[in-house]
Structures are given as structure tokens and as C-alpha cells.
Symmetry: C2
Subunit: 336 residues, 2 copies
DNA sequence: ACCATTATTGAAAGTTTTTTCAAAACAATG
DNA sequence: CATTGTTTTGAAAAAACTTTCAATAATGGT
């Protein structure tokens, strides 16, 4: 079965391909009656423009790449929905890439991004490096980094839509300082390095201002909940929990909650608990876990919108490529 | 900055483009010393083949589309990982599409799939219809449907990798029948229609064989956990829970669990609870919720592998396009 | 009815690759 | 060294579109 092309439509409508091309691209120079004739031919033959050929002719694929680490995948459903929705609005296709730990994996992804000639890319700020961004930049591919703040803004055409985790942690710690509490611990997370670093930085800054140094990290191999729970239960049977425990992800928070309870403590009286990333599971525990409501959908939507603007070189983004998103603390059952 | 093309490489290496094309495609007809010369030129200029032009020349994009409903997105992290991993192995790019409820949304996705000339598509069996598959089929696009069993196998080139939910429910109900229990209820789920239908069918079949008819559906608007929980708490304060409650998703199971406990019942003594889809959150409750361990990653991996075989018209798939995946029941704390 | 505009169309070149077919280079044989 | 047979290479066509520029058609004004 031969695919029908623009030639077939041209012949059917008895016009040249130039004219057919004009009608599929909504050019306004074509006369009304011929437009109709062409449209009928398109309809009759069931013609669908070949995006590949268009891409070649225009050097433009109306496709953007999204790349994130395999691990973070599960946590970003809503961000992805935001990204997808606005991509749809602006008629961009999504090419999806995941990176895994292996050394050259991000290299492979970059390779395929370059070969695919996508118009732009959205990077999740978890496990890629500066050099990798620079490669993309050499190829003039606009990109936006979503998640946390990027430190190097030197590199060309890159936007950044982020949550200020440093400030979040700084403010949180200070709030407890004001209540006279400085017995705080942080559950480490190896999944999202950059965000974690920023949280730590914020805590450190708060402590430093009081002339103290923060060092209460609770660190363990948290590959699965059960082992985390066991580790923590053990831990809390031997150590009194801090007055405030900060975790990054829901499963860590729930592990802390359950382990504390297992060890005979009650929250929030013996120990307060704050989870950075909010999600629905934190409302299913008893008590519910306090957390930050981060506008995940918006993070995605705003990122993609920013990218679409960058792609058409909208002047309004020239100096507005850094967008800090706000968040709100949701006090639930594990904080006073 | 001009993108460098195969011409530039040809000139640099002082050969024709045909030769350059041969070396990038690993053709074995090129002499060793010229191959090296060309490779050096490629290296020197940093040439990356234009996948779009290749796509046009070959009528082959080495890209496959994955389409799933926006709602189901969050539940399919592992399946997607499976899909991505094997796509990477076979060097396919992934185009990602989500469909939302609106009437024409799936139409839009199909439109863009056809225009993109992807080589194949993976469909999640949630909210698309037979007609939509037929459109894809008209364009000769091989597809595999992943998730639950498809009823119509009439349509051409489609594979199916699935869990037999009908049998799962049938067996489960019978197991309880054997124990003399027939007071069973099912929490309805509006998200994943096809899988839900199959569960119902299995339950119905088991009841029918006993000359009974099943009608204990617990149905409510479960858009968020809180409202589900409130509804169910209310419900269980006025109605004794069935001896067995079956739910589809984790959040439903947890809502039932918490609501029952809230209403003063203990599990599994007053009520047993089985959740069809297993995930880590079901091990964070007390007691842990019994569920079926479904090989999600494998569902994805097997589906993609099947598709890659279909794409090269591997004979071994000719009559093996239906693959039923196994699952195992994990008895945890909510069943005896 | 004629000229000057303006609107509409088509021919042809350009986009970057693969592939076929013929030509050129090389090797082997008598 | 001539001839045959293989390898290796290049010219040109093909893939399906967009766009520029020139040509033609339509319109308005006189």
C-alpha cells in the first residue's frame, strides 16, 4: 500500500504541490475556491502530511525531548502531566528519555537528542552534569532545567524553573530555632542529589548563623521500604528521635513515622516530622505527615511554556529565564 | 553556525557522500583505509547524522510511540521503565503521548502518531476504543496493547501482553467460596475501565457457577483519598464490612483499611482485604495489605520486545502475538 | 479597453540522507 | 601483459516536503 503524498493530492486537486503545501500550512495567499478544492482532495485521499519530510525541509521537528533519571521517574507524574499538557497546546511532540546510573548513559541520551534534531529539551535536575549541558549548548539546543536551581548560568540558552530548596530548609530550621528547638536530623536521600544538596546548604546556613554546625544525618541504604523501616526501628530503639526529623520523600517519611511509633514514640509530641515532597500517601498515615505542597503540575507546565517561548525567540524571555516557583507548608499531624 | 552535513564530511575526507553514508551505516564494502579516513573526518568535524533525513530516506524513524491515559500515568512507572530499557537496547526512540478524557483527545494523539511516521506503537489498555486501533491499523502501524486482554483480535498487526484479570478474580472468589465465604464486595474504579471489566467478569463467572449473582459494588467518586476515606468511614459505620473486600488500586485499599479501622473493625478478622495492584505503599500500612504481585517491569519489557520483533517481521512472532503474563498472590496482613 | 497593481499560482531548487547502478580500481589467472 | 573477476567508489535519483522567484490571472481605475 503506497502512502499518499503531497503529489497525489496535487494531482487530485489539479494544482501544484506548492499550492497544496500552502493550504496545509494555512498560508493566506491561496484563493478560497482552490483552497476548498485542495481540502477536498486531502479529505478524499486521507492525506496526512509527513512530519519527517516537513522536519527536513524546515529544519524544525516540533519535538522536544524530556530527560530524567529512571529513578526519579515515579516521583514526577504530575510534572510530566504539566509538561505534556502545554506541549500539546503548542503542538509539540514529546520525545522521552530516561537515564540510568551507568557512566555513559547520559552520553547516549545526548547523542540521540542531537541526532533526532529536536527543537529543545527539558532536563530534570537530578543526575546530569554541567559538561553534558554544554554539549547540548554547542548544538544550539535550547533547554530548560526543571526541579532545583542550577548553579552555573554561564551556559547559553538555558532556562531554569525551580523550587528554592535552600531557602525552604533555611526557613524551616529557623522556625524551629525560634521555638528553641535545635535537635534536628535529616534523612539522606541518594536519589536526588542536587535537591538534597540544596536542602543541606539551607540547613547549614541556618546553623552557621547560630555559630553551630549541623551534622545529624540519618543515612542508610533506602532501596526498599522494608529495609529502611527495619533500620530505623532499630535506630529509634537505641536512640531517642530528634525533636524534628526532615525527610525528602514520602516513603522515607512513612518509614520514620512507623519506626518511631514502633519504638514507642508518639508524633508530634516526642518527635516532629516534615517531609519535603508532598503527595497523597502522606494523608493516608495516622497522623498525616506534614509536608510542603509543591506545585508539581505547574513546575512542568511553566517549564514547557518557557521552552516554547525560547523556541520562538520570544523577546519576553530574554532576561527572564529563571523562574522560582513558590510552595506552601502544609501543617498536618506530625508537626505542632 | 551551520550544521555540518554528510557533504562536509565527504569533502573533508575527499570521498563521495555515498562512501560516508556507507561508513556511518557500517556497510562492509568500504576499504579499511578509506573507512578510517572518513571516520577521522567525522570525528574532526563532530558530525552527527541527521535522523530526520535518514528517516525520510529510509521511510523508517526508529521511533515508537507510547500512549497512555493521563490518569494511569502515575501507576505505570515500572512498566515504562521496562519499555524504555528494551527500547534502548534495540535503539528505538520513544515518543510519548498522553490522552485525557475529552472526546477528541485520542484522535489528536492518533493524528500526531500518523504524521510522525513512527514505526510502531504501544497502547495501554485503558481508554481507547477499537475504532481508534483500526485507524492505526489502516496505516499499517504495528502495535502492541499492554495491560489487559483485548477482546477483538480481528484487527491486523496487533500484539497483546496482558494479565488475565478475569481469571485472577475468578480464582480469588473461588478460594473464598471454598472457605465458605461468599460475602464479598468490590470497590469500583473508574480509572481503568477495561481491567475493571475483566475483574467483574471473573467474579460474575464464579458466582454464576454457584447459581448466584454478584452485586456488591462499593462505588463512589474516588478522586481523592480524603473523600474516599470519609465516604467509606461513613459507610462502615452503618454497614458491616464484607468478609472480603477487593480493591483495584493502593489508595482504595488503604482507604478501606483505614475506614474499617476507624469504624472499629479489625483486619483480617472482621474483614479481609485484597488489592489487585501491588505496590510499595501496601507494605507501609499496618497491617500490610495483601495484593497480587504483577510483573510490571516485565510487562513493559516484554511488550517492547514483542514490538521490536514485529517491526522486523520476525517470523517467530507470526502466531505468538498474545502473551499472558503471570502474577503471584502475596498474602500479607489483611488476609488469613 | 487598457494599464497598473495586486493576488494567486507553478517551476525549480533546497533540505539531508540512502541506494542503485555503472564506472573505476585492484587482484588474480593464464 | 592481457583478461577476467572482484572490490571499492561515485553520480544521480529518490524520499516528501517548503520556499523563493517569476509568471500568470484577476482586479481597479481611468
Amino acid at each position: 500500500m503506497k502512502r499518499i503524498t503531497i503529489y497525489d493530492v496535487a494531482k487530485e486537486a489539479d494544482v501544484s504541490l506548492a499550492t497544496v503545501s500552502r493550504v496545509i500550512n494555512d498560508s493566506n495567499v491561496v484563493r478560497e475556491d482552490t483552497r476548498i478544492r485542495v481540502q477536498e482532495a486531502i479529505e478524499k485521499l486521507g492525506y496526512k502530511p509527513n512530519a519527517i519530510a516537513q522536519g527536513l525541509a524546515l529544519s524544525k521537528t516540533t519535538t522536544v525531548s524530556i530527560v530524567m533519571s529512571e529513578k526519579m521517574f515515579a516521583y514526577n507524574g504530575k510534572i510530566l502531566n504539566g509538561l505534556m499538557d502545554v506541549a500539546k497546546i503548542y503542538n509539540y511532540n514529546i520525545m522521552f528519555h530516561t537515564t540510568s546510573k551507568g557512566i555513559s548513559k547520559m552520553q547516549d541520551v545526548i547523542e540521540s537528542i542531537i541526532k533526532s534534531r529536536v527543537d529543545g529539551v527539558i532536563l530534570f535536575n537530578d543526575n546530569f552534569s554541567l559538561e553534558e549541558m554544554e554539549v547540548l549548548n554547542e548544538y544550539q539546543i535550547p533547554m530548560v532545567v526543571v526541579g532545583s536551581k542550577i548553579t552555573e548560568t554561564k551556559i547559553g540558552n538555558v532556562g531554569n524553573v525551580y523550587i528554592n530548596f535552600e531557602k525552604m530548609a533555611y526557613d524551616l530550621v529557623n522556625k524551629y530555632f525560634e521555638r528553641g528547638i535545635d535537635d534536628i536530623s535529616l534523612v539522606e536521600d541518594k536519589l536526588n542529589l542536587s535537591m538534597m544538596e540544596q536542602l543541606k546548604a539551607g540547613i547549614d546556613r541556618a546553623y552557621a548563623e547560630k555559630g553551630k554546625v549541623f551534622d545529624k544525618y540519618i543515612s542508610y541504604d533506602d532501596n526498599n521500604y522494608k529495609s529502611s523501616f527495619n533500620f530505623l526501628t532499630d535506630y529509634y530503639k537505641n536512640n531517642r528521635p530528634s525533636k524534628l526529623v526532615i525527610t525528602f520523600r514520602d516513603s522515607q517519611a512513612i518509614a520514620v513515622l512507623n519506626a518511631c511509633q514502633e519504638a514507642g514514640y508518639t508524633l508530634p509530641d516526642d518527635c516532629e516530622l516534615v517531609c519535603v515532597l508532598n503527595n497523597k500517601y502522606l494523608t493516608m498515615t495516622r497522623p498525616n505527615v506534614s509536608s510542603y505542597n509543591i506545585p508539581e503540575y505547574d513546575l512542568g507546565a511553566v517549564s514547557m511554556r518557557l521552552l516554547t517561548k525560547m523556541l520562538v525567540e520570544d523577546d519576553s524571555v530574554k532576561d527572564n529565564k529563571d523562574i522560582e516557583m513558590s510552595y506552601v507548608f502544609m501543617s498536618k499531624g506530625t508537626t505542632k
